[in-house]
Symmetry: C2
Subunit: 527 residues, 2 copies
Amino acid sequence: MAALPDRGVPLSTLSPKFLHTNSTSHTWPFSAIAELIDNAYDPDVSAKQFWIDKTVVKGELCLTFMDNGNGLNHETIHKMLSFGYSDKVAVNGLEPIGIYGNGFKSGSMRLGKDAIVFSRSSSSSCVGMLSQTYLEMINANQIVVPIVCFEKKNSNQFSVRKKDEASLRDILRYSLFSTKEELLAEINAIHIPGSQQETGTRIIIWNLRRTSTGAPEFDFDKDRYDIQIPSEIYETMQDPSQHPNRPNSYIPESVYSLRAYCSILYLKPRMQVMVRGHKVKSELIAKSLAFIRKDHYKPIFVKKRIPITFGYNTKSKDQYGIMMYHKNRLIKAYERVGCQLKANNMGVGVIGVIECNFLDPTHNKQSFIESDKYRKTMTNLGIKLEEYWNEIRYRRKKENPNDTVPVEDAMKRPDQNWVQCDRCLHWRKLPDGIDCSKLPDKWFCRMNPDPQFRSCLVEEEPEDSDDDQPSYRKTYKQQEREDRRQQEQKMQLELKHHEERRLNSLKKQGEALGRQHENLVQQLNQT
Amino acid sequence: MAALPDRGVPLSTLSPKFLHTNSTSHTWPFSAIAELIDNAYDPDVSAKQFWIDKTVVKGELCLTFMDNGNGLNHETIHKMLSFGYSDKVAVNGLEPIGIYGNGFKSGSMRLGKDAIVFSRSSSSSCVGMLSQTYLEMINANQIVVPIVCFEKKNSNQFSVRKKDEASLRDILRYSLFSTKEELLAEINAIHIPGSQQETGTRIIIWNLRRTSTGAPEFDFDKDRYDIQIPSEIYETMQDPSQHPNRPNSYIPESVYSLRAYCSILYLKPRMQVMVRGHKVKSELIAKSLAFIRKDHYKPIFVKKRIPITFGYNTKSKDQYGIMMYHKNRLIKAYERVGCQLKANNMGVGVIGVIECNFLDPTHNKQSFIESDKYRKTMTNLGIKLEEYWNEIRYRRKKENPNDTVPVEDAMKRPDQNWVQCDRCLHWRKLPDGIDCSKLPDKWFCRMNPDPQFRSCLVEEEPEDSDDDQPSYRKTYKQQEREDRRQQEQKMQLELKHHEERRLNSLKKQGEALGRQHENLVQQLNQT
Ligand SMILES: [Zn+2]
Ligand SMILES: [Zn+2]
C-alpha cells in the first residue's frame, strides 16, 4: 500500500472510511453548512454572493451551494479535495477563516455521502468529485478524487486533457451526471443572472443524511424560503447538560433556522447569502443593541486591548449571552457567562460581542479549544458582563428612581439604526427616529437621508478606532466609592458625637460632683 | 502534487498541517491518552497490561506508553501512521473500540508534536515515526512516515532492508535517537519483567504540549504515582456552560487524575493499566453502588432491551449522573439527566450505568453524535432515573417512616463486594460483611473465602443474563395505583353515604307528610 515519494520514505495514506470519521465533528448540520459558506467568504475566493438551495437531480434530493468568487483550477480543486492544504493568507487586510484546510471535506461529507464541485475560473472550467459511494463501488483502499478540466477549443467545443480521461470516465459513471454535456451545463449554470461575472463555484451534495426514521434531516416545507431543522430534532438538539436551565422556548432561532443563523454568522458581513433564492438580512449584532457600552479586555498574553460591546437585546430578553467571533466568524452564540449562569435574574437580556482572534477554534468551529487562555477569557467576560449589568441598573435607578420595571423587561430600541445597501453592501447609519421596520425591502445608498453617504461610491463611515476609544465609565463604581466615602464620613461624625456626649456627661458628672462638694463645704462651714 | 495510482485518478493527499488540525478534537488531554490505551486494549493487539509513564530522553521530557500485546509489523505500523485504516473486527466476542482508525494520530499529536513507535511482533522488530518537527524541517508538502524494520541476521546482528534505508536515515537524523543501537535498545525495553512474553509496542512522545506560561500541561509532582492536570487548569477546565451548577468541589476526580480516569475507563476491565509503575485499581462502577436496581431501555430502533443499572454512589453524593459506555469504553461520565438537571434535590447521588452500543461516539469519543437516537435515549434515561429515585424514596419511607434523612445523605455501603485477582484479572464476589478497604493491596483468587472461585483457573461467576432478568418492580407505582384505587373507593363510599342520607331525608319528609296527612284526615273526621 506504500507509495514512496522521491525521498524514499512511505507516504501516510488516507482510507475512504476516513471521510465519514472526519465529518463526525459536525454534530450540528448548520456547522457543516457554515464551512461551505466560509470557503466562499475567504479572501482567496472572495465571493460577493453565495446561494444555498435544494434541488432535485434525476429524482435525487440535493443541496446546492454556489458562489460568484474567483473559481478554482485543477490544482486548487485538488487541494480542496485533499486534507490540510490551507495556504490562505490575508488579502487586503481580510483574514481567512479557513485555517485548517478541512472545511469542504468535513462539511460536505457531514451533509451527504457524495459531493461534486463545478468551478469556472478566469482560465479554466473544472469538475471534481468526492464521493463515498464511488469509493465503495470501486473498492478503493485510498481516497481517489476524480478531477477533470475542460479546455475550450473553439466556439462550444470542449476538450479534455489525456491525463483527466480516467477521471472523466469515473465522474460520468458514478455521479448524478452521465454525459460531458450535463457537466458543462452545470458549469454554465454558474453564470449569475444580471451580472457580467462568470467565475464561481457550484457544489452539489447528494445522498443527503437522513434521520433514523428515513426522513431528511432538514425541513424544507415549513418555510419555503428557509432550511430548517425539524422541531422534534432541534427542541432536544442541544446537549441538555449544556443548557440545563434553558427551556425550549428560549432556543435561539439561529439554532434551527439556517436563515437566522446566516444573519449572524459574520461579525462584519461582506458577502450576501441567499437562502432558497431570498437574500438573508445580515444583522450587525453589536449595532442592534440598546444601552450600548464599549468595554475592553486586556489579556496578559495579547498586546492590544480587545474591545467588547455590551448591550441589551432589543428583540427578546430570553436570548442573551456572549457572541464570540473569531476572525469575523461566529464561533459561539449566546454563550452565558458569570452571573448569567446563576439561578437569578442577573445578566438576563444582556448581550456581549467580542472577536477573539487570540483563541483557537476547535475542529468544527463551534467552540474554542480549551486552554488556559480560553478559561481566562471566559472568567473575564463574566466579570465585565456583571459590571455592565450593575452599571445600567445603577444609571436607570438614578435617572428614574421610581421606575420599578427591570431593564430587561422594559421596552427598548436599538441605540443606532443601521441598514445595508443592496448594491454595494456598505452599511449606513440612519438618523435617530427612523423606524427601520418601515424601510423598503431593498434599500440603496441613494435613499440615505444623510447626503454624505448617499452614494455607493462612498466608503463606509469609519468605525471609531478601538485603540483610541476609552472603555465606558463605570459610574456605579464611582457611586460605590462615593457611598463608601459618605459611610466613612457618617461614622466619623457619629464618633465625634459620641465623644461629645461622653465629654458632656463627664462635664455634668464633674458639675454634680462640684455641687456635692460645695454642699459638703457648706455643711462643714455650718457645723 | 498529484500521485496517480493505477486507476489514473488523482489521490487525495495529506498536508503535514493536517496533523495538528486533526488533533484539535481532543480538547481534554486525557481524551488523547485514552485513544492510546484503546489501541492496546483492542482485540487486534489484546494487551494484558499497559504502562503509562514519563521519562527524560537526552534532556527532553517525554510521555511513554507501552503494551505487551501482539506487536506490529511494517504493514500494520504503516496503517497506524495512516488515516482511517481500522479493519478491526471482534475477536472471541470482544468488540473493538477503535472504529475510526484515527486514535493514534489524533491522540499522540494532541499530547506532543512528535512521536516514535517501537514494536516487536512474533515476526519482526519495527520503528515508525510521526513527527511534525521532522516534516517542518524537511519542508514536506505531504505527510511522510519513516518506517524501518530490523531483521535478525545472527546472534545480535540486525540488518535493514534496502527500501527502509531512507526511513532509517531520517529517523536517526530527526528523532531523539541517533544510532541504530539506540533504536534497538528501545525495542529491547519492550521485554516485560518477570514474563516470558517479548512482543509489544512502545510509544514515546516528545515536544510535549505546554500551556501559555510555558509549563507542561501535566503535573507530575503532586502525586508521584499519578499524572494530573494542574488544579488551576482543571478547576476551570470544563466549559462553564456545560456544568453551570456544578461548583468546583464537585468536579469528579476522573477529570484531573489520570489514575482515577483509568479506573473507570472500561465497563468490564480486561487489561491492567499501570500509571507510573503502579497498578490502577479498576472499578466496577455498576457493582460499587448501593440500592442497586436493574432497569431496561427498549428503544424502537434496537431489537434488544438495553440494561441500565441504577444505584447510589457510596463514596460521594456530589458525583452523580449517568455513566455512558460504548463497546465497553467510557464516553460520558456523570452525565446528569432528567430531574438531575433541575434546581432541586431530585436525583442527587444517583448513578446510572448503561452501555450504548447503538449510539455513535463523536470523533474524540467524549460524547455521542447528536442524533434523534441520542436525544431519545437521553430523554428516556431521565425518565428511568426519576422512577428509580421515586422508588428508593418510597421503599425507605415505607420501611422506616420516621427516618427523615434523605437517601443521598444517609451512610451507604455497596450492595455487593467485588475484588479483582492480581494474577488472572478475574473479578470475584466476596461474602457480605467483608470490609474491602481491609483487603491486602495484592489480592489473588487463592485468598477467596468462597472455595468455588478459589483458583485462577476458574472462570468468572457468570453475570446474570440480562435477557432473562426482569426490570425491577416499581413498587411506588403500585402504591400510586393503590392510592388511586383507595381514593376511588373512598369517593364511592362517600357517594353512597350521600345517597343514603338523601334517601333518609326523603323518607323522613315522606313520613312527615304522612303524619300531616293523617292529622288532616283525623281533623276531617272530627268535623
Ligand atoms: Zn450602496
Ligand atoms: Zn486469579
